[in-house]
Symmetry: C2
Amino acid sequence: MAKRGYHHGNLAQALVDAALKLIEVKGPTGFTLSEAAKQAGVTPAAVYRHFEGREDLIAEAALQGYRIFADLMEHAYQSGQPSALASFEATGRAYLAFARRHPGHYVAMFESGISVNRTPELAMESRRAFEVLEKAASALSEHIPPEKRPPPQMVSSHIWAMSHGVVELFARGSPGTKAPFPPEDLLESGIGVYLRGLGLIPPDS
Amino acid sequence: MAKRGYHHGNLAQALVDAALKLIEVKGPTGFTLSEAAKQAGVTPAAVYRHFEGREDLIAEAALQGYRIFADLMEHAYQSGQPSALASFEATGRAYLAFARRHPGHYVAMFESGISVNRTPELAMESRRAFEVLEKAASALSEHIPPEKRPPPQMVSSHIWAMSHGVVELFARGSPGTKAPFPPEDLLESGIGVYLRGLGLIPPDS
DNA sequence: TGTACATCAGTGAACGCGCGTTCACTGATGTAC
DNA sequence: TGTACATCAGTGAACGCGCGTTCACTGATGTAC
């Protein structure tokens, strides 16, 4: 990162970092290639030495986000072992923690409009992340009597939806929406009620 | 709407409609004032006879969306009366139905970046919509023993989050995300599990 | 019913702007000998 | 260790574009008499 005069040293990553900062601050719309270049102390043309163009730069930011996200989810899953319930709850918390700690990445991944099928690598990393959630849901399902057991993919979809909804509506400075509760509490309690509904937590705990 | 030569007749609404169509098709980013004007068969400058500018046009589209949304929610709430449970479930379904039937409005309201506090009218209509959800949650809470009753606003936040998450992740042609289940089923079942978790539906139904 | 005129709702040309992208270039770096 | 040279990673000027917005204008509409 040390600037050595003419050559930058690590421009590619500096551009990604600048892009992430811009996306975080000004939204996916506010990001421009020129501004990111300026932020990195470089001419817009220099970007083309490292990326194919604007879209490609966002895609790289998203890819790095999915990598961090998947790692975080996997780590959270492991941390709850061998309890299926603890693992599941940990991944839910990890989702929100990621969104809060890496808002630029989160927006690049979910709101920038880039398709996860843009490159095989991107598709792979996003699958890796969500497979953790599905695996956690699957293990959890084992504790439900088969006749009233919903498909694990449905369970993971529910949790994903609630997590994403909490992030979008309450965790960000969403315009004009004041959060009635801390997002962490909201997600925690929401998942709690949900798990109780699955019969996995005693009704009066 | 009939075009009477020089004068348009109902240009303001035609512009809103064009904006909604554009937002629906090309996302909140894809919308431009010029394009909307062209769509309506009019010069960009003509827009300024009816709106203060680009933002004002989006705000009007969002306002109309909140009006429809609030009406729909209120109607759904009424339709479930006098059962608190039926009312609650109906409002959840109405949320998703609105998002599907009015995708342009939905995006203008929740993804265009316009603040709900932009005008008092906008703030009022959005409050009206979400107060229905809170009222439904409140009535529902009456059926829960006080000592294990969560704050109604928390319950409505949970449902709002899950609804919004389902819409964003599974109901739209979200890039690269294939829906594992129909969004309607996903939301219905998710709310079902949640209500069971609140003890409002018998565990084995 | 017919005419004069004020009001209204458009036009079309022009603006300044920042954007993404291209191109020939050049200064810095690193390697072969 | 020193020099020649290929490669690399930047520059800076230029482009065409569509954007939002402004302005003086003009044709259409509707009303008073």
